[in-house]
Symmetry: D3
Subunit: 155 residues, 6 copies
């Protein structure tokens, strides 16, 4: 479960795919309870039946949290998550849908200020059981370099 990897060892274009997770009614109930978001879109089946999707939809933050959690299988002691860019909800996730995450290394760039670290971007694509994309985002990791950049290289 631990896989030490330095910045230089991340390979652009390499991909991995996670196991799947069915989003259950209980997940939505627990996520509402954790976040305090009890909007009727998630919690009121009767009202949802009168709306466009005819049913409750998972919270965006739930799909995101589970989609990212699926990718957390290997610990790299040289890396830490420090943010996300361009997170988009592409399609709704309904109760009973199963989601999977695909991760691709899409960027490797110097850190603007730290010569000893670089930024590795994993683009995460979350799909459902019909292989439709439901969420995409860029996950940014701060990763230690094996060899720090010479000061001059670091812009």
């Amino acid at each position: 479960m631990t896989d030490e990897r330095f910045f230089e060892e991340y390979e652009l274009g390499s991909t991995r795919r996670t196991t799947g997770r069915t989003i259950t009614e209980g997940d939505i109930v627990l996520h509402a309870g954790q976040t305090g978001d009890f909007f009727p879109h998630h919690m009121d089946a009767a009202w949802c039946a009168t709306q466009e999707f005819k049913q409750r939809i998972a919270h965006g933050t739930l799909v995101f949290s589970v989609g990212i959690g699926l990718t957390a299988s290997t610990i790299n002691p040289r890396a830490m998550s420090y943010g996300y860019d361009r997170l988009r909800f592409v399609k709704p996730v309904f109760i009973g849908d199963t989601i999977y995450s695909r991760v691709e290394i899409t960027d490797r760039r110097p850190h603007p200020k730290r010569a000893g670290h670089g930024i590795v971007v994993e683009t995460v694509t979350v799909t459902n059981q019909r292989d439709e994309t439901v969420l995409v985002c860029d996950h940014l990791h701060l990763v230690e370099r094996r060899v720090p950049l010479a000061a001059a290289d670091n812009r």
Copy 2:
């Protein structure tokens, strides 16, 4: 709890501040259980005692989910969340910290393709009980316009 508002009615620079939420050990346990992320940074107090922060830290997705959940107090039937930009984890959140969200309308722009909608950007700043910023992000909402743009205006 419902407050209908069209794109034209969002005011740049307006702000609101939420109630607070103490992040408990139980929240971390539940979030690990929901996401499947059992990394020792969150779940192994003995190992954490040997690390830089000396204690367990909340998952990034937990701080984000609760921070956003705090802002979900008023339903606007004319708006829907469709994503986030520039989400950054600024400082760790520890067990017992209390977080608050401040929301500011920082952008209102035409939607690139839909004349009937615009994009409203809420910049969310999550702070702890010492008023230190722990997370920032831009929350993007797709909001119906009261008056659709003429085709010519919509670039």
Copy 3:
């Protein structure tokens, strides 16, 4: 979310209606876990199928807790809940039912001993998605007076 209101400002007959909440199987499981009430009426679907209602029913304390929770949307720093009268379970709530609470101010009376406070009674009526009443109760609040009663007025 904060709305300061003194005793004198509660208006007899004023009403409000909450958003809805679907009672899920997961809610019953969690409530059993929280209360320790694992009676077969809530937990044994096979046995329930042989009984009058043919299905599991929500705990009374669950319907009550959620029904009251729905009303907890605005904090009044001048009021505190101190009890309930005439709580009655009128109809069973089944898995998948959606409940709503209607609140009406039905009484405003002096506190028997405190000149600085009065008692405001909110009658809470919990209904399901077929608009059938499932639970009623009187929620008693101890509310600060803007102007304390003169001793002589306090009966």
Copy 4:
């Protein structure tokens, strides 16, 4: 766990005492999640530290639900709960307090309309580990009579 008992067999003044239950921080978090009541009195330790009690307090509905759950140890197939009277919150319950319920049969009366049933009232007194009363209520049960009242007796 099943103890069949008819109305006639409830003895006025008989009492029983339950096992205890420590109210944990996790119980408050779960109850907030179940009910949607995230008032700062329960969820914001930093704010609570500035208030009278200096700490978070358990939800009234939590103390009530657990206090009643503690009494649900024996199933009587001839009885059903149908409500509560005079529920009062006497003292706050804090994280780490342990509560116990004492039950006393305080009333046995005819049902106003049903000759085949009577009403049995259990007065429930919930105390903490310092034997202070924190909650009281009258729990009303509808219990089948072994021998229905003659019509004339039923007023």
Copy 5:
């Protein structure tokens, strides 16, 4: 709920049967969250649909924990659980199945080293709503003797 019983008072061949518990989807979600076991057999309905059983199955440790929990109705202050032998998963448990435990005292033997205690073996048989056995195990209890064995008797 407390029933003091010494080693000498356990009767070989005596049996008891518990109430039932429906295993819900939420139970599986919570158990995955508690144990960190997110194997697709339990969590991925789409994948399960392609496998032998066509549906998700409950974790073995869940069926065991609930099956044993059902037997925990009476506290004997003279006994403590110290292990299990021959725990076997006989049939899968699916979402919606209801399980029951039958307990039989199948052995009473001296403790190999402690003259003051004996070992009582409860054979626990967990069945589903079709009376099929799903799990069996021998539950070993260390129980105080009313009369300690003379040293010579204790082999």
Copy 6:
């Protein structure tokens, strides 16, 4: 996360060690809720303070479920869990203890009836942060053989 391995490929004496998991108060609360075991040893801190250990202890089934869950990191599609032998609770686990599992392949034997499968025994030793053993058990797996035994070999 998938690692296909046949019976022949399990190596006697090979070991692995899992990440750690701190057992929190919330875990005990959730496990009580899942199993219905609310014995005061786990749930009543005031009573526990008067007992030998002076504090609440984790349920045996909780330590077992988490200890086994920690080992569930790699899916072998050729193997299935079918039981446990000699499960023993060696020392109590308290709130705040961190547990780890060590797994050793201690036996590989023919299945008594199936020529196509063998039994692989993993001895699981669960230790705490002081490296004291708290639980041991033998986990039995039914594993497909790459080459079925000839009928004559299978006794």
